[in-house]
Structures are given as structure tokens and as C-alpha cells.
């Protein structure tokens, strides 16, 4: 599990870490129960401060993607979100879809792109 962080991005570093961990879990790269790297280790490896990684981990914990085992270490949760709330993503999706549509992309093309995004983390075709 190697993270690639863009220090010049407008997206906060802790959010980039969070996103890549989510992608890693969805892609099967990080299996449920697997131990995540230490805050210190990841901070050192990425060249960022502990607190930044800490913030990312805290966010992931709050979202239920990972859990901090008190006996040391942080592990990937078994069942993250629970019920699938379709409405949650629609706001961001709508804007992306609008941009794609205005850029000339057709509905089928967009749907294919979405399916690709869905499967890109599938582990058996990427």
C-alpha cells in the first residue's frame, strides 16, 4: 500500500490519505482486519507530520472504515458503512455529471465511465 500525495493540491493532505485508504479498502488492497501502518510510520514514509496522518485516521475511524484496536495498531473494519444511503453521493455526482454533459459526454459514455470507476478498485480487473 503506497500512497501518492500531491503537496500542491487544493485537497488537504489528510483528505488525500483518507481517500486513498478508502480506495485501498474498496479495491481489496487492504483486507478487513488487516493492520494499517503506524501513524508514525506512515508519516515518515510520506514525509508529512504525524498529526496529519492522525487526522486522516481519525476521520476514517469516525466514518467507520477503520477501527483503532487498543492493543496497538489500527485495523481495517469489517463492515464499514452499513446501509447504503443513495442520496449521500448524489450532490457530488450531479455536479460531475453536469460537467461531463456540458463537455459533450453522452449518457452511455458517462455511465461507462462510472462503471469503470466502480470496478477500477475491484481487484480483479485493474
Amino acid at each position: 500500500m503506497l500512497l501518492s500525495l500531491d503537496m500542491a493540491s487544493k485537497t488537504p493532505i489528510y483528505m488525500q490519505i483518507r481517500d486513498q485508504v478508502v480506495l485501498g479498502i474498496a479495491g481489496g488492497e487492504l483486507a478487513p482486519g488487516e493492520k494499517l501502518p503506524t501513524i508514525r510510520a506512515l508519516a515518515g514514509q510520506c514525509g508529512v507530520n504525524m498529526m496529519t496522518v492522525n487526522k486522516a485516521y481519525a476521520l476514517l475511524k469516525q466514518e467507520g472504515y477503520i477501527t483503532a484496536d487498543r492493543r496497538g495498531g489500527t485495523v481495517v473494519s469489517g463492515s464499514p458503512g452499513g446501509p447504503a444511503l443513495s442520496g449521500k453521493y448524489s450532490a457530488a455526482l450531479k455536479v460531475i455529471a453536469a460537467e461531463a454533459r456540458l463537455a459533450g459526454m453522452g449518457e452511455d459514455e458517462f455511465a461507462a465511465l462510472c462503471r469503470e470507476a466502480y470496478n477500477n478498485g475491484g481487484g480483479n480487473n485493474g
Copy 2:
């Protein structure tokens, strides 16, 4: 064209304005050539600072969605973007797709959600 702004959102206000204008254009609510409200007017109507609206308009102009009319107004552009670059949206889409997948949503369900997002803005006049 009425904007609904959430002052408590993490998304900057100028970005919310920008997004809703894009949605309005994609949905046909704002037709090409149509005149947008004045910065002053929109700022007053939404209860935000003029600089905020200015920033949103500047961004929209830079992205090609709107153009400054010679007579002082701002109008919706005719042909917004260039070619549809599929790679541009994939980063955000991947994260959304990963979240949806981890929330238990299937591929078809997600694709349907994406199609709905695509059509939600222009289903009845585009």
C-alpha cells in the same frame, strides 16, 4: 434561477454558486445566451459578499461556462467546454464509487444512480 447556499457546508460559498450555475446550464434552466444576474443583485439576494459572487463568476468565466458581455453583463456561453476528457473526473468518481461500493451498493445500482444524476439536470428540456 434560485440558489440555495449552505453557510455551514465545507464547500466554499463561491464554489456552491459555481456548482449551481453549472447545474443550471446543464439542466437547461440557464439557456445559452441568457443573461446572468448582476454580481450586486445575486450577492444581495443570497446575503453574501459581492466578492464571493465575483469569485464564482470569475471561475465560471475561466472555465468557459459563461462569458462577459461587452455591454457589461454576463451571459451563458454557447459551447462551454472543449473535448470531453474522461480522465478529468475519474479521480473524484473513483472515490465516490469506492464509498458507494463499501456502503454495499452494487455496480448496477451505482450506474443507475449515475445515470439519474446525469439526467436529473436536463430530463425535461434538454
Copy 3:
């Protein structure tokens, strides 16, 4: 709204701040819509670091007790939690009740103590 922090307590400072804000809201000392002190101001007033206050505010925001208005400032939310989930407090309550019982406190006495705790923030009898 004056906070009293115990630097020697086992309870983290940010949690003490959080608790006292919750008490202030419940007690009517902090009315919905009222503006909370700035992170910097509160930090200066309490003699703690900005980040500590920031953490308390972030927690309160996450819990829905307060909301950060993008136009500057943090205000008390209107309706915090929504549905009353009785099961949430029972764990902590059980332990407290057990300790009280073992200390010789009767059921009625304990119930009276709980009612007092409930009303102590009521604003019209404290």
C-alpha cells in the same frame, strides 16, 4: 459564558470544553443562533492552545451542537441531535447507578439526583 478547566484532570481539555458548551446550551446560557467565542479568543481566555479549542469545536460540530458559519464565526445549532436515542446513555448511566447503589444510595434518592442533574441546566432554578 465562562469556562473552568482543570488542567490536572484525566479528562482531556478539549473534552472539558466540549462538555461545558453542551451544558451551556442545555442550560440556556447559550441560545440557538448565538455566536460562540472565536477559537483564538477562547484559547486566549482559557490559556490553552488554539488547536485544543479547535478540536473541541470540531467535536461539537460533528455532534451537531454547533455549526461553523462560513461567513465567520461559530454559532449554536437550532436542533442538535434529532431523535432521542435512549440506549446511547444507558451504558454510562448503568455504571454510575451501580456505583451509587453500592455506596448505599436508594433508588428514589438516585432518581432525585438525576432529576436535579437534569434541571440544573434548566435556567430557571439554578
Copy 4:
């Protein structure tokens, strides 16, 4: 007497053990004079470090809930605490009551919840 420990909880494991022992005593599940499991046994059964159980037992001894038997065992004390000091619990109770109140719970409802918590540990054999 079976303990259920949550390794992902914010509450330290030794505190969880302590709390459940207190609940067990208050509930009559652990009668005065009854022998508690060995540190080693409990540690093995729960999958935690012996030092953790040791810490919990030490805390319980210090609080007077259990006493070290001369022959090497640990037994439940006869008369645990001294006089019931109402002030001790009020701080935690106040916060819980404030949260409940803000969640929309009425005073009677809260008092009923407290009575239930009081009786939940010893309703059928105390």
C-alpha cells in the same frame, strides 16, 4: 461472570473490566465474599495482557470493591464504599442529562431511564 470487552472503545480496557466488575457486584452476579478469577485466568479468557487485568484489580481494590485474600485470591468486599457522596456523580450526570435533554428527552423520561439503569443490575436477585 463473562466480560465483554470492546477493543475499539475509547474507554481503556482496564476501565471496562473495572466497570463490569462493579456492575456485576451491584447486580448481585458477584456476591460478597465470592472469589474473582485469577489475573492470569481472566487475562487469558479475555485475550488481554495480564498487566491490564492487574491494573483493573488494583483500581477495584483501591476503591474498596474487592479485597486481596490472604491465601492469594481476590474476593468481593462485604461493604464496598463509605457514605454515599451525592456530589461525586453529579458532574458526569449533568453532562449526560444535558445531552439527553438536548436530544429531546423529557425529565420524566430521563428519570425513568435512570431508574431502569439503577435496577437493571439487580432487579432479580438483589
